[in-house]
């Protein structure tokens, strides 16, 4: 009885880690662009990034289910490439989670870039640092709080994901059955003890992760030049 829940927990952690990693790679340039662009399209992109905050996860999940299924170009391409469908697979879960947690990575990063990195970047440029050099040696350390906040919130938010995962991934043990879905199933089958165990674990984990953010932000106050 314990084994499937352990695998659900491991799958959840793996999903949260991979999602956070992908978000860090995709979200950083996106946040930088939003923080520095003068394009008139900026509010449109900001809105798109913020949408997952207000949309019911089932809406995102529904559209993804339609967009990723094997009859679409993307889903079909993936199927011929890997022999797997995007829907009801771990890759599909990652895509869904990345979209769902996007604002939790991009917004803190964008805010940090705008408030903490602008002047130091100008200084670095005046000292002769090329943009990419200045980004890694100055903008990243100056925005470290934004990075920590973004990473931790994305991670924690993905841990607690339910609707998107259920729509895109279903409930396949060891493939797409994450903790939140396991809890739902345990409750449905009146297995309250198991549900208690998993819920308590998720609660404790989320508490610790968020506590870390707040303690970190207190210990390392950002000095704005």
């Amino acid at each position: 009885m314990m084994v499937p829940e352990v695998s659900a927990l491991l799958l959840t952690l793996r999903l949260a880690l991979v999602t956070t990693g992908v978000l860090l790679i995709l979200g950083t340039p996106l946040a930088w662009w939003l923080a520095t662009t003068r394009s008139r399209l900026r509010p449109v992109f900001e809105t798109l990034v913020a949408l997952p905050l207000v949309l019911p996860p089932t809406v995102i999940g529904f559209y993804l289910l339609i967009a990723l299924n094997p009859t679409t170009p993307l889903g079909g391409f993936w199927l011929t490439l890997t022999g797997e469908t995007l829907t009801f697979s771990f890759t599909g879960l990652v895509i869904g989670s990345v979209l769902y947690s996007l604002p939790f990575m991009v917004q803190p990063l964008q805010a940090a870039f705008e408030t903490s990195a602008r002047i130091p970047m100008q200084l670095a440029a005046s000292l002769g640092a090329a943009p990419l050099d200045a980004f890694f040696t100055v903008a990243v350390p100056a925005s470290i709080r934004g990075f920590v906040t973004g990473v931790v919130l994305s991670f924690a938010h993905t841990l607690g994901e339910f609707g998107v995962v259920l729509m895109v991934g279903g409930n396949i043990p060891e493939r797409t059955r994450v903790v939140s879905i396991a809890i739902y199933e345990q409750v449905e089958t009146l297995n309250y003890q198991q549900a208690h165990g998993l819920s308590g674990l998720l609660l404790a984990l989320s508490f610790c992760v968020l506590l870390f953010v707040y303690v970190f932000n207190r210990r390392f106050p950002v000095h704005v030049g």
Binding site: P120, L123, A124, A125, S126, L127, D133
Partner: protein, 362 residues
């Protein structure tokens, strides 16, 4: 080598106000950009540094085109041979002072070091600060670190944005000596933005006067400021700058004697002043008293002989402005209208203008 020139030809709208400047600034010594707050001084400096882009205009440093908006040409700031100390002297807060300095020194490609690290550190007295973090530095210390950082990039031009404005009097006195001979010590042309006439008189060789985004005058400090007035807020004419010659320097009393025409003023000694130097002296209209006879039994020792050239009673005010012709120029003096009556001042009368020593240093 002939002195090259920074050519500005800008006509651009920036954040709601327009900036119009056409000038050729010799890349030698210290040039001040002077004007009241909001006149566009900082924007001009940031355009030269490449931190802002003009919509129209050109900036050329010697033969190098930095900006030509018509040709969509824009050289990025890290490719311009220019150092800037921004307002408030921001530093890289995640690095130590030493880290800040090496950051600058290490990003200059293969160009040979113009000044060894140790010499820059030494000349700005930064040795005791090297291990510190920027947030723990005082305003004056930040300025010195930022100066060193900019110098270490071996710029062809150094831009300073209000280097003294955020500092209190004591800190100003601490940082002034470093600024005073920076240009000659490092053979570095400096462009200095300031709204403080004292700073301009102390530091600059020539001055560009900006008002509401337009350049209204450009030339040698004394003549240009005497022409345009220099009160820090209104830019109204509120005093004059005299040029004296240092004749004697008394290290014991910390005074120097400065000759102006037939008169001698006793001023606080300035570090680095030599006998024979031309000393610009700023006298504010409100810091002068008038006497009909040469002063006796007064603590004020500085008296300049002159003639009353004009008397203008300021409407709705207790004051009048008396123009005292000193021969070299007419010094505006602000006294009460009551005093004008009491002394029965009239044009053509001989008069003594009394100036307190402490007010001369600014």
């Amino acid at each position: 080598m002939s002195v090259s020139v920074l050519q500005l030809d800008l006509d651009t709208v920036y954040a709601g106000f327009s900036l119009r400047v056409q000038a050729e600034i010799p890349l030698q010594g210290v040039t001040a950009i002077f004007g009241p707050s909001g006149s566009g001084k900082s924007t001009l400096l940031r355009l030269i540094a490449g931190l802002e882009r003009p919509q129209r205009g050109r900036i050329m440093a010697g033969p190098d085109v930095w900006v030509d908006a018509g040709q969509s040409l824009f050289r990025k700031p890290h490719r311009r041979s220019v150092g800037i100390v921004m307002q408030g002297a921001p530093l890289l807060n995640h690095l130590s002072v030493r880290g800040n300095l090496t950051y600058a020194a290490q990003r200059q490609g293969d160009r040979p070091a113009a000044y060894p690290f140790s010499r820059v550190v030494e000349s700005l007295d930064l040795e005791p600060l090297l291990a510190r973090r920027p947030p723990s530095l005082s305003g004056g210390e930040r300025q010195r670190v930022a100066l060193a950082q900019a110098i270490l990039t071996r710029p062809g031009l150094l831009l300073l944005d209000e280097p003294l404005s955020a500092l209190d009097r004591a800190r100003k006195a601490e940082i002034l000596p470093y600024l005073q001979d920076l240009s000659s010590r490092f053979d570095l042309p400096i462009l200095l933005v300031s709204h403080d006439v004292d700073e301009v008189v102390r530091l600059a060789d020539r001055v560009m006067v900006l008002k509401a985004g337009s350049m209204v005058d450009f030339g040698p400090v004394t003549e240009t400021l005497n022409r345009h007035g220099f009160d820090r807020d209104t830019m109204d004419r509120e005093g004059a700058i005299l040029s004296g010659i240092a004749r004697k320097i008394d290290r014991e009393l910390d005074l120097m004697e400065v000759e102006i025409g037939a008169d001698t003023l006793f001023l606080p000694r300035e570090e680095g002043r030599q006998i024979g130097d031309v000393v610009p002296i700023l006298i504010r209209a409100s810091d002068v008293a008038l006497a009909l006879q040469p002063p006796e039994g007064l603590s004020i020792r500085n008296a300049l002989r002159g003639r009353v050239a004009s008397i203008r009673r300021l409407p709705n005010s207790a004051f009048a402005e008396v123009g005292v012709d000193l021969g070299v120029l007419v010094l505006p003096v602000r006294i009460t209208r009551a005093a004008v009556e009491a002394l029965s001042l009239r044009a053509g009368q001989n008069i003594w203008a009394l100036v307190k020593t402490t007010t001369l240093a600014g």
